[in-house]
Amino acid sequence: MTAEALPDLAGHFGRYGGRFVPEALVRALDELDAAYREAKNDPVFQDRFHGLLRDYAGTPSLLYRAERLSEALGAEILLKREDLNHTGAHKVRNVLGQALLAKRMGKPRVIAETGAGQHGVASATAAALLDLECVVYMGETDTERQALNVARMRMLGATVVPVTNGSRTLKDALNEALRDWVASVDTTHYLLGTAAGPHPFPEIVRDFVGGIGTEAREQCLTQLGRLPDAIAACVGGGSNAIGIFHAFVPDQQVRLYGFEAGGDGVETGRHAASITGGSAGVLHGARTYVLQDEDGQTVESHSISAGLDYPGVGPEHAWLHDTGRAAYEPVTDDEAMAAFQLLCRTEGIIPAIESAHALAGAARIAPRLAAELGRTPTIVVNLSGRGDKDVHTAGAYFGILDQVETIVPGENS
């Protein structure tokens, strides 16, 4: 079976994906699947979706040739500027699609899980735009770390529920959202934030964010007159990566690279690299790669990037990994932060720390590809989000927050 035709009707990508959920959710998933298939073929829905993407979210996002970064890395680097979208990341594509779908299904309420708050803010945004009630589950630890995003969601009219179970982070927020959904499925759509979870979510999310790849492919053909040698994207749950990969999967000459959060290093056990540092298992409704112990208990993930700090990954990535169509490598916190700084200084763009993992990966593969191809390689990097949300984390990492506080008049000249 070709990659474009996957998943199968039951949501399987090879042995991955599927539905590992309570029976109570199956009807809702079936209804969602049916509604999505109708919407996919309904020109009215597609016009509304693409109209909002264009007029509200600001897509197609630019494909920008980063001259100074290219010089620094010894490769032609093209940045897919998803950071310029409304709400500052690729996620707006997914939430607009799913919120329209909720409307279409007549569900007045949406729920969402969020880690750092980006998907929560995006969901609250789409809910405000389309007049839906919105409840966001967020680990208590994260609500404390990301108070500004909690405030943003509330400004947009959403209710934020701090989750106090388990490790009080993203995976527990996801568990709590699933529990809510089991009890509220008649009136509620679960607006899942990444291309993971039970079928049909991995397929729906992939399709809604798939514009990243189709745009980038067209832009390459228009701007370069050819396809790139490689695509680089960061992988947590994997929505931005699958979004840019999907259109290029049939182009065998285009190498696909997914960069996972290596945290302190995969060998230390403190990381969020589910594919390169985990094993096949079942988590949050699908069979995929997960971080787990010998008994199949989920292991907590670690990454400087809250958006990649998740112990699972979308099932299509598991499949692309096993088939060898895409290559996955871990990038450590330090490598990501070096790339973060490089982009700030060479291009005047502050990236999301998530996206900095993709930049670091591009820097790593540039000399490899140059040697292999015998020429300067062209790499498209998915700059999936902007770094405003990460100023505090990055400032602390680089030790520059203190400088601001300790400047004394007369001493800074």
Partner: protein, 268 residues
């Protein structure tokens, strides 16, 4: 005793089966064995041992908390098998309730083999639907483990028939839309769901779970179901007790009250 024999015996006595649930290793391995034996002695016909899991999406706060405590105290899958062996060895009918990933990790065939060897007669899988259960169904058949899948008020007629056809021993009917946890009233959706299962297969025993916490509620459910499944209310006896001895006293008292309940409900 097998699940079918347990349900058959209760039916002959004109009453419902009482199924009591307790997480393995809560708060420790030995304490959980003592709790389960106490429950069996005080009137639980079936002990449902729950394998603690880090991400129990079908469970409410009480079972989550008890599972977290068990995991924090280091319970392993092999301990759960040891607990089952001890409780079954004390004469109780034991079924395991488990999320799927720990089983897949252990090895599906090996787990079915070891579960049967430990003396469990059945296994309930809250996040494994028959659609994804090919390997489990084959392994359960190979080692003679009864497999219980869940049906829900939201199940379509087709899915309900398919699910019941894949069950052995009994069907677990989730009485209302929601996670586990004692509630003040029993769902009105429950009798209808049981009737739908009976319409598909009149011989298949139906256990009703989610929400039962008192003898009166047990009687209410026993009036229309073959089995009454109680979890959170029993666990709370131990969770909220000042010490384990008090916890076990409360556990015995509630088990006895529930056992009385399943005997006073008008049998269907």
């Amino acid at each position: 005793m097998s699940i079918s024999a347990t349900f058959g015996k209760a039916k002959a006595e004109g009453r419902s089966v009482l199924v009591g649930c307790m997480p393995a290793g809560f708060p420790t391995v030995d304490d959980s064995i003592a709790s389960m034996v106490a429950m069996a002695e005080a009137g639980c016909d079936v002990i449902e041992v729950e394998l603690p899991y880090s991400d129990p999406v079908m469970d409410g706060p009480v079972i989550q908390k008890a599972s977290d405590i068990a995991l924090a105290n280091g319970v392993r899958t092999r301990d759960t098998l040891r607990i089952i062996e001890a409780v079954a060895g004390a004469g109780a009918t034991v079924v395991l309730m488990t999320y799927w990933n720990p089983i897949e990790r252990y090895g599906v065939d090996a787990f079915a083999r070891d579960l049967a060897a430990a003396g469990a007669t059945g296994m309930i899988t809250p996040d494994l639907i028959p659609d994804e259960a090919g390997e489990w169904i084959a392994a359960a058949d190979r080692y003679g483990i009864d497999r219980t899948f869940l049906v829900s008020p939201s199940s379509t007629d087709d899915r309900l028939a398919m699910t019941v056809a894949n069950c052995r021993g009994f069907v677990y009917a989730t009485a209302l839309m929601g996670v586990t946890g004692a509630r003040t009233s029993v769902s009105s959706q429950a009798p209808e769901l049981v009737a739908r299962v009976r319409a598909v297969d009149p011989e298949m025993p139906v256990g009703v779970g989610l929400g039962v916490g008192t003898g009166a509620q047990a009687a209410e459910v026993a009036a229309f179901a073959d089995g009454v499944i109680v979890g959170s209310a029993l666990i709370r006896c131990v969770l909220e007790a000042p010490d384990l001895a008090t916890g076990h006293q409360r556990l015995r008292a509630l088990s006895a009250e529930l056992a009385e309940g399943v005997r006073s409900g008008a049998p269907s």
